[in-house]
Symmetry: C2
Subunit: 202 residues, 2 copies
């Protein structure tokens, strides 16, 4: 079937959100950890983390100004610090529950049973249960005029993972990791490797 721009606009709001959030394929499932100015540890699930560059080591994260994820944005602004932590299949339900709207002042760590962990030089909390974590310092927030979305850009301060999870070429070994992928807003997947392909030449 073919859906035009005009037909997409006429779709029921939630149906359209589900369709467009799933239309590009698999996305990374990550927990973003932050600490508020009053000291509350915040945790929120994101599927919008994106690699921006290797030198300097930069990561982007998309946020909207007025959604459930506003705490994350406010905390990153006030503290200049955030963490990104892989979601594993064994704590998937807890990770998904961080998206609930808890009363002000409650920490998603306590509410979901996940454990905060701290490292020197990073103000924000890591997720102890995660197999791979990044600690980042805010470098810039780029507002996208077109729809008010914000691209949060962080530089990696520290990476945390077990040494045996890295292959000889530097890639993480996803055959060993329990990391999940997400599609749309609510569907989680386990992946299995099909192929590692050589550098392509004509």
């Amino acid at each position: 079937m073919l859906l035009t721009n005009g037909e997409i606009k006429l779709l029921e709001r939630r149906y359209r959100a589900n369709l467009l959030n799933s239309i590009l394929g698999y996305k990374p499932a990550n927990l973003v950890g932050t600490k508020s100015s009053s000291g509350v540890d915040n945790l929120a699930i994101f599927s919008s983390a994106i690699h921006l560059g290797a030198d300097p080591a930069l990561v982007g994260l998309l946020s909207r100004p007025h959604t459930v994820r506003r705490h994350t944005l406010e905390n990153i602004r006030s503290s200049q610090s955030f963490t990104i932590n892989h979601v594993s299949s064994d704590f998937l339900d807890k990770a998904h529950r961080t998206s609930a709207k808890y009363p002000e002042g409650l920490s998603e760590f306590e509410q979901t049973g996940l454990s905060p962990h701290f490292e020197a030089g990073v103000h924000a909390p890591f997720v102890k249960e995660s197999e791979v974590s990044l600690g980042l310092t805010l470098r810039e927030i780029v507002p996208l005029k077109i729809n008010g979305t914000l691209l949060i850009i962080g530089e990696i301060e520290v990476l945390l993972f077990e040494e045996d999870l890295v292959l000889d070429d530097g890639s993480l070994d996803f055959e060993l990791l329990q990391t999940v992928a997400v599609t749309g807003l609510d569907t989680y997947h386990k992946a299995s490797r099909l192929k590692k392909l050589p550098y392509a030449r004509p």
Copy 2:
């Protein structure tokens, strides 16, 4: 293990690229179709497509100014049009081979054996073999000052997919799709659904 920012900078260039390109988890594997001003159909594999918003329906794509992907960027600039097409397991090798540097004037469609397909209202070629395709019009290119990366923003003009691939709530059914995920620069995965979770409440 813990790697600091300073230690990351000291990693061998390719090792660092592999590590940082895989550090956030699973990414979507898509083919981006464009047409040059001299009429050559171009096709390039990208793992940086990202959902930017549902109304208007916006998609982002990251590009660097001086890499193998420059043709895609130039063609989007000159024609204002591009397509994004899911990579399926059955044409994965062909899709990966679009990343080779072919001599000027050759089309990756012909070089890899993938088939261009056209739809009214979209100048750029679609990939006939893809189960899900988006046709987009360029809305804006946002340069990220911090490292020269460019965020290409397109608005969806048309969506192409079989009707039975959509669930009642509007999400694509990835249990039926052969769409693959990618990690790092060269590793492709098939995914299987773990869970579709309900909207989270405290």
